[in-house]
C-alpha cells in the first residue's frame, strides 16, 4: 500500500512542481521572449504555450530515453538537435492544421529551440531521471508555462481589446487601452504581475529572499546561457 502511494508521489511530485512550486513563467522567469511577444491575445498565448509544452514533453521523453546513450561531452549539441527536430515537427503540424495560428505566431515558433525552459529541463531533469518522471515533469512544466502565458494574454487582451478569446467581455462604453496589445503593454503587464508576486511575498526568481541554487537553469536566462556554455566547455 505504502509502496503504491510512494509510486504515485514519484510521478505527482514533478507535475505539481512544474505547475506551482517552479512555475517557469512566474517563479523561474524563464523563456521571457515568447512570454512577452506572443501574449497579445489569449488564443495566441494558449497556442504558443501548448506548442512549447508539446516540444518540452517530446524532448524530455526522448532525452530521458537516450540519457545513457548520449556521451556526456557532446550532450548539449545532442540536446539542441533533438529539440530543434521536434520544433520543426511542431512547426509543420501547426502550418498544416492551424494555419492562422502559424501565421500569427510566425518566427516565434522556430525560436522555441532557444527557449531556456526546454534546454534547462533537459539538463536539469530529463538527463537524470526515468522516462515516466521526465514525462510528468514535461507535462507539469509545459502546463505551468501555458498557464503563465495565458494569464498574461488574458490580462492584455481584456484591457487592450475588451475581449477574452475574442468574446466581448467589457461593456460597450469601455474604451480599450490599445497600448496593452502593443509592445509596451507586455512590459507593463509582466511588471504588474511580478510586483503582485513580490507584494504577496510569493516565491519568485525576482524576490530577494528567494535563493535559487538548485537546478542548472533556475534564475535568469543569463545563468542558463552560462550553464549551457560551461557544459560545452567541458568538451
Amino acid at each position: 500500500m505504502s509502496d503504491n502511494v510512494k509510486q504515485k508521489n514519484k510521478y505527482m511530485k514533478p507535475l505539481i512542481n512544474g505547475l506551482i512550486h517552479e512555475n517557469p513563467t512566474f517563479v523561474l522567469m524563464l523563456g521571457m521572449c515568447p512570454t512577452l511577444a506572443v501574449t497579445t491575445s489569449a488564443s495566441n498565448a494558449l497556442g504558443m504555450g501548448l506548442s512549447t509544452a508539446l516540444v518540452l514533453i517530446a524532448s524530455n521523453i526522448m532525452i530521458s530515453l537516450l540519457r545513457k546513450v548520449i556521451p556526456d561531452t557532446v550532450r548539449m549539441p545532442a540536446y539542441i538537435v533533438i529539440v530543434a527536430s521536434f520544433v520543426t515537427v511542431v512547426q509543420f503540424l501547426l502550418e498544416a492544421f492551424v494555419p492562422s495560428l502559424h501565421e500569427s505566431l510566425g518566427i516565434y515558433i522556430p525560436l522555441i529551440v532557444v527557449n531556456c525552459i526546454i534546454l534547462g529541463r533537459a539538463e536539469a531533469f530529463a538527463s537524470r531521471n526515468s522516462v515516466g518522471e521526465s514525462l510528468m515533469d514535461g507535462i507539469g512544466m509545459g502546463i505551468g508555462f501555458t498557464v503563465g502565458l495565458l494569464a498574461i494574454g488574458i490580462v492584455r487582451e481584456l484591457i487592450g481589446k475588451g475581449t477574452i478569446f475574442d468574446f466581448t467581455i467589457m461593456p460597450d462604453a469601455y474604451e480599450p487601452f490599445n497600448i496593452f496589445v502593443l509592445a509596451p503593454g507586455a512590459f507593463f503587464v509582466l511588471s504588474g504581475l511580478t510586483a503582485l508576486q513580490n507584494k504577496l511575498k510569493l516565491k519568485s526568481a525576482t524576490n530577494v529572499s528567494y535563493n535559487n541554487s538548485d537546478g542548472s537553469c533556475s534564475g535568469d536566462c543569463a545563468s542558463c546561457g552560462a550553464s549551457v556554455s560551461e557544459a560545452k566547455k567541458e568538451d
Partner: protein
C-alpha cells in the same frame, strides 16, 4: 543604396529587436546593471549577429536551397550559430587576447540569445540577399546595443531611487523597459 538605408533605420529604430520584437530579452534584463558590462555584451552581440547573418545566409542560399532541405533551417542555423560562437571565442583567445578579455564572458552567453537565431530566420523569411542580410543583421545588433546601453544608463541612475517595495528588482526594470518601448514606438513615423 536607399533600400539598404531603409533596412538599417527599420532594424535599429523602428523594429528595435528588444523593444518591439522581444528578442534577446534575457540578456537585456540580465546583463544591464552597469553601462560597462552592457556595452561589452552589446558589442559581442554585434560581432556574432553580423557574422552569423552572413554565414546563415550563405548556407541557406547555396546549400539548403540547392539540395531542397529548406525545412531543416532551424536545426542547421542553431548548430551554425553554436559552432560560430565557439569558433569566434577560440580565434579571439588566440589572436586578440585583449578583445577576448573584454568580450569573452559575454560570448559564451550568446548561443542562447534568441536574437541571433531570430535575425537569421527573419533574413530567410524576408528573402534578403547577402548584402541585405548583412545590413539587417548589423542594424539589428546595433539596435540591441542601443537598447541595452540605454537600459543600463537608466538602471544606474535609478538604482538609489525610492522605489515602492513590491516594485523593487525586476518589476521596476520592466516598467522602464515599457516606457522605453513607448518612446521607440514613436519611431514608427519615420518610415
Amino acid at each position: 543604396m536607399g533600400e539598404l538605408l531603409l533596412i538599417i533605420i527599420a532594424s535599429v529604430l523602428v523594429n528595435n529587436v528588444v523593444l518591439s520584437q522581444f528578442l534577446g530579452i534575457c540578456p537585456f534584463l540580465g546583463v544591464s546593471r552597469k553601462i560597462e558590462t552592457a556595452t561589452g555584451m552589446g558589442l559581442a552581440v554585434v560581432f556574432v549577429i553580423t557574422l552569423s547573418s552572413m554565414f546563415t545566409n550563405l548556407i541557406y542560399n547555396y546549400i539548403l536551397v540547392n539540395v531542397g532541405l529548406e525545412y531543416l533551417q532551424t536545426i542547421v542555423f542553431i548548430l551554425v550559430i553554436a559552432a560560430l560562437v565557439q569558433l569566434v571565442e577560440m580565434v579571439l583567445k588566440k589572436y586578440s587576447p585583449g578583445l577576448y578579455e573584454s568580450l569573452g564572458v559575454y560570448l559564451t552567453l550568446i548561443t542562447t540569445n534568441c536574437a541571433v537565431l531570430g535575425v537569421a530566420l527573419i533574413n530567410v523569411q524576408k528573402s534578403y540577399s547577402f548584402v541585405e542580410s548583412l545590413v539587417n543583421g548589423f542594424g539589428t545588433a546595433i539596435g540591441f546595443l542601443l537598447a541595452i546601453v540605454l537600459m543600463a544608463g537608466i538602471r544606474e541612475n535609478s538604482e538609489h531611487n525610492d522605489v515602492p517595495n513590491s516594485f523593487q528588482g525586476t518589476p521596476i526594470v520592466l516598467v522602464s523597459a515599457g516606457l522605453m518601448a513607448m518612446a521607440f514606438y514613436g519611431f514608427g513615423g519615420l518610415l
